[in-house]
């Protein structure tokens, strides 16, 4: 077997094609046997110049010149995709190299074409799923209407929050959002902004607890060059960045007292001075503040300025903790399963009855944030298509009133009266659904049925 035959065999077996061009960039040899799909339609492999066979080089003439002039050795174009005659997409890497095979004094160009179809097909599948998910998320996030729907839930507590948002979104009023950690204060602030006439303008969120006290003033109000040692150029503050839009101050209860005075002045006058500047800047922002602290108590403890409290507490809303949202916990859990379906585990499609009961019986000290984490963790470890109770790893924090801290009052206590009340409340909360009510009380269904029969309670009266 001669060298040419050996080379041809190697080329075919390794899924490589080649094209050889002389110094005039005319084709002098090629082998496309293993990649016939690469040739442009109607273009024979044995004819043409480099521009006809490789239109990828059009615009890169100086680069080809530098190959011929020995200034450059090679040049690679990766993942060029071609539609084959069978309507399939094929992928190739092209390597353009200088050669002097024919005449040592004159260079030509050798193009090697490597088939990458199988590797890229796998990459494409993964990327497709990821981008589809991202597309869906970003499109939904860009639709103000969606955000209103994003506050999921059918419980009266959630409906009240929705009604509040709809009432105040169009006004310019300062809003104070209160509620335990993880109840979605930031989401509600975004919804208010997106439903307001300011929606096309910026929404700037600042977590007052996350910025060190020493940096907060410069972050909020900006600074002039030379205001302090490292101020090497002017910097706009976040308040100025929010001009025309909404400024969301999360954890406002953590703002240092010294800065509270400056914030109050800004809210009163709609104007401020950057650090190191004597010029007054006027901006138009709507303020939404949020806290999980009892600001009234903070005022009494001299931790929060009373005048600022009155200024921000024009309209306020307390977001309900998850434990007061009835069956909404299941609705939210299913929403998170849907949301995390592609990202975490495609197999998981829902909750088993035991998992539903376990979710309903938990008191959710970390609220919606905790629920999301619990679901995400469960989806990672779930072995079946439904999340089971055993997949749900709940925190070790005991439920309030869990038994350990109960003390018998000195005046006595009617166990039966309280048992009846608890059974009634569970039925009310769960609208007569016995399995859910049983789960709320940590009882098996049989025990629950036995007890409601004992007190002559009819679940239908609560549905």
């Amino acid at each position: 077997m001669n060298t040419k035959n050996i080379l041809s065999t190697v080329i075919r077996e390794t899924g490589v094609a080649y094209a050889l061009f002389d110094h005039r960039l005319q084709l002098t040899g090629s082998d496309f046997t293993s990649l016939p799909w690469f040739l442009p339609q109607g273009c024979p492999a044995e004819a043409g110049d480099i521009w006809t066979l490789f239109p990828e080089l059009i615009g890169s003439e100086p680069l080809v010149d530098s190959l011929l002039a020995k200034r450059k050795k090679r040049f690679v174009l990766e993942k060029i995709n071609k539609l084959g005659p069978d309507d399939r997409l094929y992928y190739a890497d092209l390597q353009f190299m200088a050669h002097s095979f024919q005449q040592p004094a004159s260079r030509g160009v050798l193009v090697l074409i490597f088939d990458r179809t199988s590797q890229v097909a796998a990459e494409q599948q993964l990327q497709q799923q990821y981008y589809e998910l991202q597309l869906l998320r970003s499109r939904l996030a860009s639709q103000p209407g969606f955000l209103s729907n994003a506050i999921l839930g059918a419980s009266p507590a959630v409906q009240e929050v929705r009604a509040f948002i709809e009432r105040i979104a169009n006004h310019n009023t300062t809003v104070l959002l209160q509620g335990e950690t993880g109840t979605g204060k930031s989401l509600v602030a975004r919804v208010i902004h997106n439903l307001s006439p300011r929606s096309a303008k910026p929404f700037v969120e600042i977590n007052c607890a996350a910025i060190p006290d020493t940096l907060m003033e410069s972050e909020l109000f900006g600074y002039k060059k030379g205001a302090f040692t490292n101020a090497q150029s002017d910097k706009k503050g976040l308040i100025e960045e929010a001009n025309g839009g909404t400024l969301f101050l999360d954890e406002i209860g953590e703002m240092p007292l010294s800065l509270q005075a400056k914030l109050l002045t800004f809210l009163e006058q709609k104007a401020f001075r950057s650090l190191g500047s004597t010029d007054e800047k006027r901006v138009d922002v709507r303020l939404i503040a949020a806290t999980n602290r009892d600001l009234g108590r903070a005022v009494a403890d001299n931790d929060f300025r009373q005048d600022l409290f009155y200024r921000i507490n024009v309209v306020s809303c307390t977001l309900p903790p998850l434990r007061e949202m009835d069956d909404d916990v299941l609705l939210l859990a299913e929403h998170f399963i849907e949301l995390l379906h592609f990202e975490v585990n495609e197999k998981v499609t829902g909750l088993s009855p035991s998992a539903r009961a376990k979710l309903l019986s938990w008191h959710w000290p970390g609220n919606v944030r905790e629920l999301r984490n619990v679901i995400e963790r469960a989806m990672i470890f779930a072995r079946r298509d439904k999340i089971e109770a055993s997949d749900l790893l709940l925190s070790l924090t005991p439920a309030p009133g869990g038994g350990d801290d109960f003390t018998l009052p000195a005046t006595g206590f009617s166990l039966e009266e309280h048992e009846r009340k608890l059974l009634e409340q569970a039925l009310q909360h769960c609208r007569g659904v016995q399995s859910a009510a049983a789960a709320r009380l940590g009882l098996s269904l049989d025990t629950f049925r036995y007890r409601i029969k004992k007190y002559d309670l009819n679940p239908r009266d609560y549905s």
Partner: protein
């Protein structure tokens, strides 16, 4: 009479799902498919087009590029020698306006003389064009570039988009 035909490389830039491939398919083949298929690497298409004012003929080599997650030497090679870029923005997603992800700066660094034209795509999904148009023009104004609202689905302004590109070529401007 000797008629010159100028072959020009045009890069399609934009974040994933902005509609780059759909615009090219609509322009070159006159077709639109609802199904989203993410592009990997680059796909080349050709189409001849004349400048309406001068009659100069251009052979457009359209580089439909994948969303560029990471800018590398290999990616820079895609940009080499481009005469223009069409920057496609999805009007239904604010995130498609993320300047860094579109790689406009890197494109200009590779091709300082190249023309830029902005396409605000997916008008068929909008209730009103007014706000989208002002946002698109404000975005394009940062590069002093023309912009047009398009819909690959309905074909709205797709030909006009490529005509704008051709009109921005130095050969078309000279005469």
């Amino acid at each position: 009479m000797n008629i010159s035909v100028y072959s020009k490389k045009i890069c399609m830039l934009g974040t994933f799902g902005a509609g780059k491939t759909s615009l090219v398919r609509r322009f070159v083949h006159g077709i639109f498919e609802e199904k989203y298929l993410s592009t990997i690497g680059v796909h080349l298409s050709h189409k001849a087009l004349s400048d309406s004012l001068t009659g100069i003929q251009f052979n457009l080599i359209i580089w439909d590029l994948a969303h560029i997650e990471k800018f590398t030497a290999a990616t820079r090679n895609y940009f080499r020698g481009a005469a223009a870029a069409i920057i496609v923005l999805d009007l239904t997603r604010e995130s498609s306006f993320a300047e860094k992800q579109i790689r406009i700066k890197e494109f200009i660094e590779s091709n300082p003389e190249a023309a830029l034209v902005f396409a605000g795509n997916k008008t068929d999904l909008l209730d009103s064009h007014e706000q989208a148009e002002s946002e698109l023009h404000a975005f394009a104004a940062r590069w002093q570039a023309p912009a047009v609202l398009t819909s690959a689905k309905t074909g709205e302004n797709v030909d006009s988009l490529f005509e704008l590109v051709v009109a921005a070529m130095p050969e078309a401007k000279k005469r």
